[in-house]
């Protein structure tokens, strides 16, 4: 059963330079208990897509389409109802724990607050629960940590504290926006291990630019380019039999595969290229690529590619 079903989602930002289409007719599905990786380079719209599910986009954003969560269209419900979804049903894990934890509140206050908001527990019970969550995340001395401030914790501990805040009210879906960015390899491995453990209790939308990281955590992977999904399949399939030229480019750019960069740079989202948005950077481009936008082509079981090469 699908937990989150995004269909034909369009997000436009009106800017002084013109309309920026950050997400272009994107459709995506996350099933119950599934972890979906959303891969793409900076500025391809993957974070925008995460925020649009939470309805936290800035005011100059226009959203169209449908985001069905357990059958309810999140784009249609009222703000009050939406607040019941945020945190309680869908929680977010942000990039940088140092900036996404409030510096003047203790870790315990921040976790308890979230618990009390959605679960209506008393102060004392909430604190016990906070300690439990920290303990489950293998934070040493959890009952001491709850009365400390973010700046007093090590970066790995902060990361866990932030995850604890997101887990406070047992959400069914976690949107993790590049939780490993800026961490050294050891921390990164720790966080990934945590994320894998989280997978057993919630569904997850894992946003990252690192194909290797995504493949380690996620069941399915969607590759995003300039606001659209260009390839979707199971993580293993993408890693071993990725088909779209952009996916192949991403695979070739992984260090152990030769660190080969993709030529060119991300297209402007104000004036995206005609036809297939990737064609100016594609090595196997044909005539029709610059004229028509390729549709989604099913090339295997649960394997979709948006490329004329496979039509």
């Amino acid at each position: 059963m699908s937990l989150l079903e995004i269909s034909e989602l369009k997000v436009d930002f009106s800017t002084p330079e013109g309309m920026v289409r950050a997400v272009d007719k994107m459709s995506l599905e996350i099933r119950n208990g599934e972890a979906l990786g959303l891969i793409g380079e900076s500025g391809c719209g993957k974070s925008t897509m995460g925020l649009s599910v939470m309805r936290l986009l800035p005011q100059n954003a226009h959203t169209e389409g449908r985001i069905l969560y357990r059958g309810r269209d999140l784009l249609k419900i009222g703000e009050h109802e939406m607040r019941q979804v945020r945190g309680k049903e869908i929680a977010m894990i942000f990039q940088d724990p140092l900036t996404s934890l409030n510096p003047v509140l203790t870790i315990g206050e921040q976790i308890c607050e979230a618990i009390r908001l959605h679960q209506g527990l008393g102060k004392k019970q909430a604190k016990e629960r906070a300690v439990e969550i920290l303990k489950a995340l293998r934070v040493p001395l959890p009952s001491k940590r709850v009365s400390e401030y973010p700046h007093q914790l090590s970066s790995g501990m902060r990361q866990r504290a932030m995850i604890a805040v997101a887990l406070a009210s047992k959400p069914s879906l976690i949107i993790a926006d590049e939780p490993t960015r800026g961490l050294d390899l050891i921390r990164q491995a720790e966080v990934l291990k945590l994320m894998k453990e989280l997978k057993s209790s919630t569904s997850m939308l894992f946003i990252t630019h690192d194909l290797g990281v995504a493949a380690g955590v996620c069941d399915h992977i969607a590759v995003m380019y300039a606001g659209e999904i260009v390839e979707y399949s199971s993580a293993q399939e993408i890693l071993n039999r990725g088909k779209h030229p952009y996916t192949l480019g991403l695979l070739d750019s992984i260090p152990r595969k030769g660190l080969k960069p993709i030529e060119g740079s991300s297209p402007s989202l104000i004036n995206p290229p005609q036809g297939c948005k990737f064609h100016p950077r594609c090595s196997s481009t044909t005539k029709q690529c610059s004229q028509k936008r390729p549709g989604e082509i099913e090339i295997g079981e649960e394997h979709f590619v948006r490329c004329f090469l496979y039509a």
């Binding site: 939470m54 945190g87 942000f94 990039q95 003047v104 908001l117 932030m162 805040v165």
Partner: protein, 280 residues
């Protein structure tokens, strides 16, 4: 934990401790005024006019034979209570309006900030004179004048901080957890702007006490025979050469009080600076 650290930091600043001691003493004196003042501050003894400091009258007497020390002690009540009321009301009011202006933005922000501009352009003394004209001279007039003008500074400072804080990722994170706007304003943004507010409030106590004295000197504040430091300066002025105690002691009281608040605010500024770690 947090309080302990705060006091440890404050303790390092000797100047803040001096300020705090003086303020504590002043508050104590103001509260205990009926028990510690040697005489009734309004009782006139025309046989004992313009005496120098002596045994019976420690700081001498004024031109109506009233005890200068007793009048200074009771004067502390006027200055401190007025200062605390004005600072309390303006801090709370200004902070709330600044929070709303900064957080909501748009038209609400425009309206509040234009009001702030008007208040900044409006001299408190003129307003106090105008209000004295309407309400009659007395403490209520200057109190109202200072409240009307005083909130603007807080609103401006708070709004500025809120504008930068509301863009922080942890506010977005709070929103992603489903907190309402009011909750975010009060529980997530307000604690982040508390430090400058506290420093500003302490500092403005100093200026309000100077202001009360100044307005009293102009005859706008407390009316005779209520003891008031500013008023005492006016009354003592004609006798500056023959009986300097009439102006020197109230002047000292004003100066010491204002200085004590400035010292404390200076120490608080250091102690509340989050970028500074305590040395233990």
């Amino acid at each position: 934990m947090r309080r302990l650290e705060f006091f440890l930091r404050l303790k390092e600043r000797k100047i803040a401790l001096v300020g705090m001691a003086i303020i504590a003493l002043l508050i104590l004196v103001a509260i205990l005024a009926p028990f510690i003042s040697p005489h009734d501050p309004v009782e006139q003894n025309l046989g004992q006019r313009l005496l120098g400091p002596g045994k019976q009258y420690p700081l001498g007497t004024d031109n109506l034979g009233r005890c200068v020390l007793s009048r200074i002690i009771y004067g502390a009540r006027t200055s401190l209570s007025l200062g605390i009321i004005v600072v309390g009301v303006t801090t709370v009011g200004g902070t709330i309006l600044g929070l709303i202006a900064g957080y909501r933005g748009g038209i609400v922000d425009q309206i509040i900030m234009r009001l702030v501009d008007i208040m900044f352009a409006f001299p408190a003394i003129i307003l106090a004179i105008a209000l004295a004209g309407v309400l009659g001279p007395g403490l209520s007039g200057i109190l109202l004048a200072m409240v009307i003008v005083g909130w603007a500074g807080y609103a401006r400072v708070v709004r500025g901080s809120v504008l930068s804080i509301k863009e922080k990722e942890y506010i977005e994170a709070a929103r992603a957890l489903g907190f309402s706007d009011q909750h975010i304003m009060v529980h997530h943004i307000l604690p982040n702007v508390m430090a400058p507010i506290i420093v500003m409030a302490t500092l403005s106590l100093a200026f309000i006490i100077l202001m009360v004295a100044g307005l009293g000197f102009l005859g706008l504040g407390a009316q005779p025979p209520t003891p008031d430091w500013g008023k005492m300066l006016t009354e003592g002025r004609p006798f500056m050469r023959t009986a300097p105690q009439l102006t020197v002691f109230p002047g000292l009281a004003i100066m010491v009080t204002a200085m004590a608040f400035i010292f404390l605010s200076e120490g608080l500024r250091e102690a509340l600076n989050p970028r500074r770690e305590v040395a233990r």
